[in-house]
């Protein structure tokens, strides 16, 4: 097995053409997933069973099944029903991009919600009591005390989840999207040379992982300035 170097130099620019889709999938799902995570978290800590139950069920289902199955249920499964194809959501669900973002959002939302919950539970009770003693309302305590402290506590775990999300975008290639992995698989199908192409692609993903880790490291350092000044 010889290694075709020219194939590597040829295919890397082609794969990088798909980095836009990879980034769009990643950032859009990360933002929407974070919003979903906060909503799920608020539902869980609301103390009302009719809010906390659906949130827990969502988290249970989406953490308990493979993301690939979730993607396929949404992309191939949902259109089985005519009312979905007639609904207002169809313009989004019709597109593989919409389906991928939806699946990634629902999935990462469940994981991130648990991470945030860990952060919230990690906030020192005494600090919140001090807030109460000063007359802060529950809302004010949540906004000014719980949120900033929990954010710092949750960040290391969140950065790991962000990397998982980035890696999961590669599964969008299974529903016809031409992200970096989709393009790579097409190149492999044409050149019949999986090693050169897939190894190059793996290196690109590793660089992305490294960049994400460094960026989160920076944010973490900034947010922890009051812990290790």
């Amino acid at each position: 097995m010889s290694f075709d170097l020219s194939l590597i130099t040829e295919s890397i620019p082609k794969m990088l053409a798909g980095i836009g889709i990879t980034f769009q999938l990643m950032f859009l799902s990360a933002v929407l997933g974070l919003i979903l995570a906060v909503i799920l978290l608020l539902m869980r800590i609301s103390g009302k069973w009719y809010l906390s139950w659906p949130a827990q069920v969502h988290i249970y289902i989406f953490r308990g099944t493979p993301i690939l199955v979730q993607i396929f249920i949404i992309y191939y499964g949902l259109p089985q029903f005519e009312f979905i194809r007639d609904s207002v959501f169809w313009p989004i669900l019709r597109e593989p991009f919409g389906c991928a973002v939806l699946a990634l959002t629902l999935n990462t939302g469940a994981y991130v919600s648990e991470i945030l919950r860990g952060g919230v539970l990690g906030v020192d009770r005494g600090v919140l009591e001090a807030g109460s003693a000063l007359g802060l309302s529950a809302r004010q305590k949540f906004i000014y005390l719980t949120t900033p402290i929990a954010t710092r506590l949750a960040l290391p775990a969140y950065s790991n989840d962000f990397i998982s999300l980035m890696k999961a975008t590669s599964l969008a290639s299974t529903i016809t999207l031409l992200d970096m992995t989709g393009i790579a698989r097409t190149i492999v199908a044409q050149t019949f040379a999986p090693y050169e192409v897939f190894i190059s692609l793996a290196i690109i993903y590793m660089i992305l992982t490294w960049i994400i880790q460094k960026s989160f490291g920076r944010i973490e350092k900034y947010l922890s300035r009051y812990v290790n000044p």
Binding site: D124, A130, S132, A133, G135, I149
Partner: protein
């Protein structure tokens, strides 16, 4: 604001408190007049902390009535907030907001609760930081301060809200010995200025010199209540005597 029918700032009438099956407070009756300084002592688990935490409703009492400055503590959120504005609290473990600078710690509640403009809140904060003798630490984070300094900040934070009364929950017991005095000094100054105080502490020197009344609690009950001279020199109850002999021979 004062209740014309009583000159007491705090009234606790037949207060009980349960944690599940466990009874933490039994039939507590206590009146605190404006300007009075009370020291509460007793063995650990005797309900001292629970008692003062009931006063600003960090704990909810199970039975009886608690009336603060004419306002009765009920389930109404509005009443609780109104009471908490009158009652400052200082904790054993300081409980400063770790993610805010010292001066921000002092400004937050002023701005949010009392709706004081930022500039004025800052001025008040600096005023009280000077009073606890650490204005130079204003822009540091809590973790950069020693325990004694943190506790003085916590006292200043309570003072910024201009409370009618301050509750101290063992303010010196988490401190190294050399830092205890700097905190007690600030508390003594406050007392001299006429602040109403309820203080859970084992600092008997402080109790002797500052307190108008000393209360001894055991097993959730008020066992004895007297002026410091009488309390320390001729305690009536056997439980008080046993307790005093233990901590004074230390």
């Amino acid at each position: 604001m004062t209740n014309p029918t009583s000159d007491a700032l705090i009234q606790m009438i037949n207060v009980d408190k349960f944690f599940g099956e466990f009874q933490a407070l039994t039939n507590i009756n206590l009146e605190v007049k404006r300007g009075e300084k009370i020291v509460i002592c007793g063995p650990s688990g005797s309900g001292k902390s629970t008692l003062i935490r009931c006063i600003n409703r960090l704990e909810e009492h199970s039975a009886g009535r608690i009336i603060i400055d004419g306002k009765e503590l009920t389930d109404q959120v509005k009443d609780i907030d109104a009471v908490r504005r009158e009652v400052g609290m200082v904790f054993q473990s300081f409980n400063l907001f770790p993610h805010m600078t010292i001066v921000k710690n002092l400004m937050l509640a002023q701005q949010l609760v009392r709706k004081i403009p930022k500039a004025e809140a800052h001025k008040t904060a600096m005023h009280f930081l000077e009073r606890v003798k650490i204005p130079e630490q204003a822009n540091k984070y809590p973790v950069q301060l020693s325990g004694g300094q943190q506790q003085r900040v916590a006292i200043a934070r309570a003072l910024c809200m201009k409370p009618e009364i301050i509750l101290f929950d063992e303010p010196t017991s988490a401190l190294d010995p050399e830092m205890i005095n700097e905190v007690l000094e600030v508390m003594t100054d406050l007392a001299k200025e006429g602040m109403t105080m309820i203080c859970v502490t084992h600092e008997m020197g402080f109790a002797r010199s500052v307190a108008d009344r000393v209360i001894f609690m055991d097993a959730g009950e008020i066992v004895e209540e007297a002026e410091p001279e009488i309390f320390f020199n001729s305690p009536k109850s056997a439980r008080t005597k046993a307790f005093l002999s233990q901590i004074l021979t230390h």
